[in-house]
Amino acid sequence: MKKSIILMLALVLVLTWISLAWAADTSVNVSPDRVDIGFNFQGTELSILGTVPDHARVYIKVASPNDSMLELNKKGRLGFFWMNVENVSVTAAPKLYQVITSDSLDQLPGELQKKLGLSRDFKQIYTSAKVYKHSESGPVELPKQDSDRYVSSLINIYQKSGLYAVKENAVQVTNSRFKANVKLPPNIPHEKCTVTVYAVKEGKLVGTASAPLQVNSVGMVKWLSREATYDGPTYGFIAVLIALACGIGIALLFSYLDNALGGGKKKGFNPGASH
């Protein structure tokens, strides 16, 4: 009886050790693990460290949830003139999408690229994104062949602002440790993003690990963006009051300065009254 208990315990211990060792094979650590956005925010750089099984290739994905919304206008020709001919919104695409790899993406089998959402031309965005055309009777979803042009423009716009990027051969791997730096632009979405690491060996996925990255606005920036979004009328009212106060304040300041500098000589004298 005693023997079997010891044997059981030993087995449990061994199993735990094995599973721990397995889990420790792929791990990731992001620093900083949260980004605070205040008035002095200029973008930030993440340092991603971790471990993968020996000789594995490393693919890292930094992405926000699929919930961005972007309005796009298509220009078209009418006679001699270029006009906005179609207005759409693109939804269900992430606003942040960066892929950083230790090797060329060509090394990754196509099927795995598709499954993990790692590709040079952002294929997975085309699959997830939905494009709605604005019309009098409400939004209408565009068929695939029409929506692709808009999605590709969205990717272009996000790439230009640094939200979307693919950087191959940018992860340093030594033995089983890896290291990478990721630049995040100032306009990153304020939400819970995820850093996911895929370890791939001989075309097979051998480990996955992920870490959250909380992006928050803080202080006045937080208050203002919340007010603007959730309490538009009050916010507008405050905006108008501040504008009026500033305009009147500056006008009074100037009239005070005028009087102080010009002495008392300008009473009722108006040289501009020449009509």
């Binding site: 796009l72 298509k74 220009k75 006009m83 603007a228 916010y235 504008a243 305009g247 500056i250 009509h275």
Partner: protein, 308 residues
């Protein structure tokens, strides 16, 4: 020194924004226009999303026009009584215009027709003002301006004089029909709702040529009316689109209300005719800009939405 703007979600140098505000405020103080036609594209060039550029600019115009109105009222240029009547017409016209926009949109190609109409109108107004003010300037040189000018405007004012409910406006020194002023305000309101502009460009020529106000009074009164249009639009943008960046607007408006002060002072140094020449040139410049936007092949066919 860069600041992160919370709604535009990007850092921009404070000094760039201050300078931009100052330059546009100067125009606004000089001519009684809002200056959105200039500010919005400049902000977009800095990378501000179009919808946010438009809305934050409107908020800024509230400050610039308040500052400009006070500066002009010190010089007794603002005809509050007349401005108020136009304003009432303008608010009614604005509501009619909004409904009209909805109806026209359903007919399709609305924006196209509108932009074209705007170009034609700016061209006509700009050219007319330019020729008129140049002739007036020449006549001024030969020292016999006054008499001729009154004769010239009398053709239009004769009709206006026949309209009922006449009232005397001490500040501008003119007599005009309240009904006519209300209808002109209505027209300005409808047009500015249709064009999506503040209305300064339409208001100044209407005040000078149709109502017969002296140029300086027209500038001062126009900027007074614009305060209310801008307040109205700022509230609507905040409530419906959530696109007003208050911090961006504050930095802009510090620049623009200072600029508006200098604009009003500079305007004092210019004669009415000179002011009209420069204004007509700006009107023509805006027309050319819109026309170029319409005709030149865009570099990208799909762009971020939300602008004018």
């Amino acid at each position: 020194m860069d600041i992160f703007f919370p709604i535009a979600r990007m850092p921009i140098s404070v000094f760039t924004i201050l300078g931009l505000g100052g330059a546009v405020g100067l125009l606004s103080g000089l001519f009684g226009v809002g200056g959105g036609f200039l500010m919005t594209p400049l902000l977009m060039m800095l990378g501000v999303p179009p919808a946010i550029a438009v809305a934050s600019d409107t908020n800024q115009i509230v400050a610039a026009s308040a500052s400009g109105t006070l500066a002009h009222s010190r010089q007794k240029n603002v005809d509050f009584k007349l401005g108020f009547i136009i304003l009432v017409g303008g608010l009614v016209g604005g509501s009619i215009g909004t409904v009209l926009v909805k109806m026209l949109r359903s007919l399709g190609n609305f924006d196209f027709v509108l932009k074209l109409a705007y170009v034609v109108m700016l061209f006509l107004v700009g050219t007319f003002m330019f020729i008129e003010s140049i002739t007036a300037l020449k006549k001024l040189k030969t020292k016999e301006a006054g008499a001729h000018k009154i004769k010239k405007t009398s053709a239009v004012t004769r009709f206006m004089n026949k309209l009922p409910m006449r009232m005397y406006f001490e500040v501008s020194g003119i007599e005009s029909s309240v009904l006519a002023l209300f209808v002109l305000g209505l027209l300005i309101g409808i047009l500015s709702a249709l064009m999506g502009v503040g209305g300064g460009f339409i208001m100044l020529p209407v005040m000078i040529y149709l109502i017969g106000m002296p140029t300086h009074n027209a500038v001062g009164t126009s900027i007074f009316v614009i305060i209310f249009t801008a307040i109205n639009v700022t509230l609507a943008q905040s409530a419906i689109n959530h696109t007003v960046d208050l911090v961006l607007a504050i930095v802009l408006l510090i620049g623009s209300s200072i600029g508006a002060q200098f604009g009003a002072k500079l305007g004092k140094k210019l004669k009415g005719e000179q002011l009209r020449v420069v204004f007509s040139l700006i009107v023509l410049l805006v027309m050319v800009k819109i026309l170029v936007d319409l005709v030149v092949t865009p570099s990208t066919m799909i762009v971020m939405g939300g602008g004018h």
